[in-house]
Amino acid sequence: MNSITQSMQFIPIGYYLFFCTMLFCIGVTGVLIKRNALLILMSVELMINSINLLLAAFSTYLNDPAGQIFVFFIMVVAAAEVAIGLAIIVVIYRTTHSIDIDILNKLKW
């Protein structure tokens, strides 16, 4: 009984689920709605961050450090991804003088 009354005081894991879902959906909307390659990359970062937070929340609530280690590795991969992605954006800007992704339709057909 004591543990139940104590656990009622915590932030329920559902709150984290809702919050991360909203953040993730904002990221998805950003990827779909924007034409600027830089902003698309930023929206992807937003999605990665929402997933990271959810992973860390579950890891803490289940008392398992593996989740937080995973978050660490996801951050590692995200940093490498951003470095490469921004280098690609710089190259795109140099060749087409724009970072509008709708111009880059040479590989479409």
Binding site: Q6, Q9, F10, I11, I13, G14, Y15, L17, F18, F19, T21, M22, L23, C25, I26, G27, V28, T29, G30, L32, I33, K34, N36, L38, L39, M42, S43, E45, L46, N49, N52, L53, A56, F58, S59, T60, L62, N63, D64, P65, Q68, I69, V71, F72, M75, V76, A78, A79, A80, V82, A83, I84, L86, A87, I88, I89, V90, Y93, I99, D100
Partner: protein, 166 residues
């Protein structure tokens, strides 16, 4: 409950600045709002007593990644509004699609609850001492491999950024 108020404050701050990332006209404002979102998420990590992750998040995201974004925006002089934004009907469709995804996911997660094994505010697993022990004992090989990944990314970024064509 004090922690609940902090949670709601950080959540609303993060969601508001995430929305402003999409709604800002200039890319530089989007970058700054994204930094604000990252700081709010770092606050969430502190709230979860994941201190190592909070510090790493601030260093990696707010310190490294956002500086990279700022440099790209400023050096390429990209700080102008989108020349040809998507037509209004596409925006409407996208917002409907994103909202539907959110409703579906929230409908799935609604009522979900797990048995909490530990007090989230007293747990010790997020501290540097414990995470470092796990990282260097159980996850040593992935940790070393991630350094190779960084080396590859560094070489790739330098190669892509070179002026002359390869």
């Amino acid at each position: 409950m004090f922690t609940k108020y902090i949670f709601f404050f950080l959540s609303i701050l993060a969601l508001y600045s995430a929305l402003m990332v999409l709604m800002s006209k200039k890319p530089i404002h989007s970058v700054l709002y994204l930094t604000l979102t990252f700081f709010a998420i770092a606050g969430h990590y502190v709230l979860l007593n994941a201190q190592f992750l909070a510090v790493v998040h601030v260093i990696v995201y707010a310190g490294a990644i956002m500086v990279l974004f700022l440099f790209t925006v400023m050096l390429l002089n990209l700080n102008k509004e989108e020349v040809s934004p998507k037509p209004l009907w596409i925006k409407t469709v996208v917002i409907i699609a994103g909202g539907t995804l959110m409703i579906v996911l929230i409908g799935i997660f609604r009522g979900y609850d797990i048995a909490i094994k530990t007090d989230p505010f007293l747990t010790q697993i997020g501290l540097v001492k414990n995470l470092g022990r796990v990282l260097y004992k159980d996850y040593l090989l992935p940790f070393e491999l991630s350094s190779i990944l960084f080396l590859t990314a560094m070489v790739g970024a330098v190669l892509l950024g070179k002026k002359e064509q390869i």
